[in-house]
């Protein structure tokens, strides 16, 4: 059986004055119903652009091409924008980071919620309103009926994000894409919203792509993880395997960077990844991580580094063998 969404060899190029920015370079990922795939990486690694390309929402000047993108048994790269508009919102919904800018301040939330359903399904306004009330209650908003008449500015950040989630679910989509859904929210609210997303996903048996830079969120939410760096996937695997046994030096570095209460010693130096993320303009030779990697050797600067498959769904992009990678991680933890 094929996956709900399967993306193979996706490229996104953005022409700039300084040259062509290869923002996404050969990315593969797939997600199934009931599964959560997390794309994780630092700003500029191409995680958001990858899904925007799938939804055909990239800015006009950006070019994208892929080997194949299949969604729900349909080949997406052959779908025209007109058909795409019917798929977006009804079959794949997006939850954006900043609920204040993603909601229209001039319309009531009831209006915006109903519009999502009226656009895609042959329903009456009353039916749309019933669905809106049902979903607002589902996302934990009390007095849903009276909330419909409110405007976005009358709601707090947490409530707005709940409205965004409800809006995404209006058409009962098989796939939901959440782009940094909790980054703009407070910590206690973040935990609540994530729990809500996870339970709704189970209830409606949706596939979810979760884009975030927060490794804590990834660890607690994802079934599968794809770590991205500089437009490439550098490591993928089940969340448990990837966090407990990270292979790529970048993944290892990221995990050493974050302070974890009870594990990292307060006041002591955290691990860090030296240098900064390079801008991927023009052709690059060798490994993308070479200039920040502690274990760099001659081949890294010249050889083509491909994803190496260890087991089903577990891949990493490094010239070192898994044994050496594991040993490196153990040694760095010991010091």
């Amino acid at each position: 059986m094929s996956a709900l969404l399967e993306v193979k060899d996706l490229y996104v190029d953005i022409p700039l004055a300084a040259g062509v920015l290869h923002a996404v370079r050969g990315v593969d990922f797939s997600v199934d119903r009931g599964q959560t795939l997390s794309l994780v990486g630092e700003s500029g690694c191409g995680k958001s652009l990858s899904v925007l390309a799938v939804m055909n929402l990239l800015p006009k000047k950006a070019k994208w091409y892929a080997d194949t993108i299949t969604f729900d048994g349909q080949e997406m790269d052959k779908v025209r924008e007109r058909q795409m508009a019917n798929i977006r919102g009804s079959k794949m919904a997006m939850i954006f980071q900043e609920p204040m800018t993603a909601l229209n301040p001039c319309y009531t939330i009831g209006n915006q919620l109903e519009e999502a359903l009226l656009r895609h399904k042959p329903v009456s306004r009353n039916e749309a309103r019933d669905r809106a009330v049902f979903l607002l209650e589902k996302v934990g908003i009390t007095a849903a009926g009276s909330r419909l008449k409110q405007y976005p500015h009358q709601l707090s950040g947490g409530l707005r994000q709940r409205v965004m989630i409800a809006m995404g679910l209006m058409c009962d989509p098989p796939l939901i894409i959440a782009d940094e859904p909790t980054t703009a929210l407070d910590v206690t609210i973040q935990a609540q919203i994530l729990a809500l997303l996870a339970s709704l996903q189970k209830e409606f048996d949706m596939g979810m792509i979760l884009i975030t830079h927060d490794l804590g969120v990834v660890a607690r939410m994802a079934d599968y993880v794809a770590v991205m760096y500089c437009g490439q996937v550098v490591e993928t695997g089940r969340a448990t395997e990837l966090f407990e046994n990270p292979l790529h030096p970048y993944t290892q570095g990221l995990l050493r960077c974050i302070p974890v209460p009870g594990q990292t010693k307060p006041g002591e130096h955290l691990g860090s990844i030296p240098g900064i993320v390079p801008t991927p303009i023009g052709k690059q030779k060798g490994c993308v991580f070479q200039n920040r990697c502690t274990y760099v050797f001659n081949d890294c600067t010249s050889a083509k580094v491909d994803l190496t498959r260890i087991s089903a769904g577990r891949e990493y992009r490094c010239l070192l063998s898994p044994e050496v990678c594991r040993q490196n991680m153990n040694e760095s933890q010991a010091t």
Partner: protein
Amino acid sequence: MTTALLQTEDITKVYQVSAGVFKGKRSLAAVNGVSIDINRGEVVGLVGESGCGKSTIAKIILSLEEATSGQVYFDGEPMATIDRKERARRIQPIFQDPYSSLNPRKSIGSIISLPYRVHQIGNKAEMEARVTEIMDTVGLPPRFRSSYPNQLSGGQRQRVAIARALMMKPELVICDEPTSALDVSVQSQILNLLLDLRENRGLTYLIITHDLSVVEHIASRVAVMYLGRIVEEAATDKLFKNPRHPYTQALLTSVLTPEPRLGLPETHLGIAYPNPIDPPPGCTFHPRCPKATDRCQKDSPQPVSENDHMVACYFAEPPQ
């Protein structure tokens, strides 16, 4: 007992905000009777959610805002009696967003040397020497001197902001969300730098943040704020081992560590963050509190300190 480097005594800040087009102005108490002591060499972490008044406290300490009531003492003297330039020399800020806190039209060298020019210290050669020295301290390569902020990455910009703050050898540095705008790998670089500077220069920090893992790592004492009040304050290890206030407990359970087998935490909090214009009566936390009773709706609990562990709650866990 030695006097604290910075002491705020029951400071309150009330803003007049518009409640609606025809409803006129209403008052919003952003900070509601906050007393906090910062001793020399300490790193005090101030945590709380957005809108709890933590940044307002920073502004009051920096004299960017005037407190409605209450006093701020610096090194034992009332802040108001200290000359403005003197204050700026001894207390320096590092702000959250290094994209908006640096003037895009000035070169890095000029941004870092500005404090020397404002205070008219030394001649040009001394100033240049000091800029070179400070850039080296914060890990900025000398070639950036004639660059402009837009040519630098977020982490490098934050280093510039830190260099500028350290130019005058301040005694107290107020860091308002110093790493929240940065990527994870850069955040750890900046935290390491702040730790080094503290060790080498005996700096005192007030770190304002919403990120509890950062606080746990860098702070020696933590104060937790909720809706303009400090609800719990203790040494960092004490507070993390034995959180006494239900809000602190919820905050700590909400920290998501990268442990995939743990799943999502249950915070037992109501969803509604109260409107600060219309704060709930009694304990402001009661609408969200799992332990709240009738008493909490009527009376506001006063802070009680036991065993150097302050908490303002009727049903606080016992101190250890």
